[in-house]
């Protein structure tokens, strides 16, 4: 058993206790006192042992606190990374070149030792996440500053190195935040590299959103790779979420600014194509999300479907409609969307096993 399974067992116990209380109130199933005492003792012992062995939340307050801890860990990691950057920037001009190089190369190695130490001392991974993100920031600083110190011509391949580094830490220690860093770095590298095939400068490749669609699809496809290890159970969903986000954002940009496309068509034609494509892609995401039970994919699809719809409503009606009427229509459309989603939800409930 691992943390996720232990948490699901805890959740099942709580759900069972609530349902049992309801059944007793409705006089459907009433346990006698010895049975109830035995059940309570068993559940109590089980919860205590699970809490001792795994990082689980056995009360609602603990669950809320866990979310708070995740947010604090993220903010702490971002702040520590910024501190490392600013510390180096503050003093680097006063150091000789060999000392600068030595610091830049050893800082990520020291931070890696910190990751290992944090992972050994504390099982929840919060402190390992902070140390790992600091290590990542140190490595970015390393290659970035080597480039600045020695006036090295910038290259997109640095993103490949950063992405590989973050991926190693993400897979080695089961750190989702580092997987996000890896996905963003690798998408940057892929986008830039695809762009250079056409002869453009790698930094300009980002000006053509189609390049992001290719990278997004590649990342989405990575979600289908097997992730058998328990600490990597959330990784496929992360791949799907960020891959889909890249695709939908790129489509949204081209649906509104057609001249950014690589397609040799008039900007208005490109915009119309991508508007249709945006509705189709987000509807497909909702459908696939419901069918395969990918909650994040469904939510992201629904969000972008609404965004595509509202940007179209704005294009059609903002100029000639009275403001009160425009917002009334927007509100009514929201109600309509809710009704459609409710029907979908009901249908999903009926087809569920």
């Amino acid at each position: 058993m691992h943390d996720d399974e232990a948490q699901r067992r805890v959740d099942r116990i709580h759900a069972f206790q609530e349902e049992l209380t309801a059944l007793e109130r409705e006089q459907v199933l009433v346990l006698d006192q010895p049975q109830r005492a035995r059940l309570a003792a068993h559940h109590g012992e089980l919860l205590r042992s699970l809490a001792a062995a795994f990082d689980v939340d056995v009360t609602g307050a603990q669950k809320q606190l866990s979310w708070g801890m995740r947010i604090v860990a993220f903010l702490g990691a971002a702040a520590m990374s910024a501190a490392v950057w600013f510390l180096f920037y503050k003093y680097w001009g006063r150091l000789g070149t060999p000392v600068q190089v030595a610091i830049l190369v050893t800082a990520p190695l020291l931070a890696l030792a910190g990751v290992e130490l944090a992972a050994r001392r504390e099982q929840t991974g919060y402190f390992a996440t902070i140390a790992a993100l600091v290590a990542f920031a140190c490595f970015v600083l390393d290659l970035g500053m080597l480039g600045r110190i020695f006036a090295i011509t910038p290259s997109q391949h640095a993103f490949l190195a950063w992405g590989a580094f973050a991926a190693l830490l993400a897979y080695g220690y089961g750190l989702r935040l580092l997987l996000v860093a890896a996905i963003l770095s690798l998408m940057g590298w892929l986008t830039a590299t695809v762009g250079t095939f056409g002869g453009c400068y790698w930094l300009s490749a980002g000006e053509r959103p189609e390049h992001f669609i290719l990278a997004g699809l590649a990342v989405f496809a990575a979600g289908f790779l097997p992730h058998p290890r328990r600490e990597q159970r959330t990784f496929p969903a992360t791949y799907r979420l960020f891959g889909l986000l890249a695709v939908l954002v790129a489509i949204l940009v081209m649906a509104n600014w057609g001249e950014t496309s690589v397609l040799p068509l008039a900007p208005r034609t490109v915009e119309h194509l991508y508007q249709v494509g945006g509705f189709a892609a987000s509807a497909l995401a909702i459908w696939a999300g419901i069918r395969r039970r990918w909650l994040g994919t469904t939510n992201l699809g629904a969000t972008f479907f609404a965004i595509f719809l509202y940007t179209k409503l704005y294009d059609w009606w903002w100029e000639w409609m009275a403001r009160w009427l425009f917002f009334l229509v927007v509100g009514l459309v929201a109600v309509l969307l809710l009704l459609v989603m409710k029907r979908l939800r009901t249908a999903a409930r009926v087809t569920a096993p």
């Binding site: 920037y89 680097w92 001009g93 190695l109 053509r208 290890r229």
Partner: protein
């Protein structure tokens, strides 16, 4: 899984850093590709540093015809000299130079072309500098004629003369002279390694259009290239900062005095990968 991942990550840090440093050694190994002696005119203190949050010191390469110095006056004079980056030169860099007849479509065609990497020959002084001075002097003469005809005021003429004097005294003498995909071809056409260095650049295109006509006729509407240095700031290592500090302290003491520039000279080198570095910095020097 943890230990192999940790070791692989550490190996990656070392490999990437060593790879970057090997590139630096390769660039600086052997005879420099170019060695130029610049002054504060061509290599002023970079805007980015030093500051309260960054102690790094860098010099900015100020090159006529690239992003930083592509101001109105430069553009006007460059156009007058017919030395713009356009036509066949842009086509050789991979740009599609055929523009639609409709002006809006022409602008769209230009915007849709992404910047491309290339190399530029950058010359210190020499013929471009002399031509530049002559072009500026011609501008002043034109203003003199306009003043004589009553089209402009004497104040405008005085301002133009002052600008000319300041440009000749303080302005950069580095000029972009040619752009090509092949750095070796550039070097073969500009063999003077003491006066010309070859630098990696990016080239962007825009429509250069004169007049009010909405049609894009090739005689007044054409695709024009603009060039940006990929490396436009060069780090000053700590051991060379002393000379720079002394020169800047002297500048502070002399602030406002006429003819104050340049305060220092910089020996700039570039290597096999056309990446520059500062070899030496000294106090005020003889100008070329």
């Amino acid at each position: 899984m943890k230990r192999p991942a940790l070791l692989a990550a550490a190996a990656l840090v070392l490999a990437a850093s060593v790879f970057a440093l090997c590139g630096v050694v390769w660039n600086r190994h052997g005879e420099p590709e170019a060695t130029l002696t610049l002054t504060e005119r061509e290599a002023p203190l970079a805007w980015s540093a030093p500051s309260r949050e960054s102690s790094g010191v860098a010099l900015r390469l100020s090159v006529h015809g690239t992003g930083y110095d592509y101001g109105y006056k430069t553009l006007r004079v460059a156009r007058a000299r017919q030395d713009g980056l356009e036509g066949a030169r842009l086509a050789a860099l991979g740009f599609d130079t055929a523009l639609p007849r409709d002006l809006d479509q022409a602008y769209l065609a230009a915007r849709r072309q992404l910047s491309r990497p290339a190399f530029a020959a950058v010359e210190l002084g020499g013929a471009p500098w002399e031509a530049w001075k002559r072009a500026l002097a011609a501008e002043v003469e034109k203003t003199e004629a306009e003043v004589a005809a009553g089209k402009r005021t004497a104040e405008a003429l005085e301002r133009e003369r002052r600008e000319l004097a300041e440009t000749i005294r303080d302005g950069s003498r580095l000029f972009l002279v040619e752009v090509d995909r092949d750095p070796e071809a550039l070097r073969s056409r500009h063999p003077d390694r003491q006066a010309v260095f070859v630098a990696p650049v990016t080239v962007d295109v825009h429509v250069d259009h004169e007049g009010d006509d909405r049609a894009c006729d090739p005689s007044w509407c054409r695709l024009q290239g603009s060039v940006s240095l990929l490396v436009d700031e060069v780090n000053v290592p700590r051991q060379l900062q002393g000379g720079l500090r002394e020169a800047m302290a002297a500048a502070e003491r002399e602030r406002g005095a006429p003819g104050e520039k340049p305060h220092y000279q910089v020996v700039l080198r570039s290597g096999r990968r056309h990446e520059p570095w500062i070899e030496a910095i000294g106090a005020r020097a003889e100008e070329r």
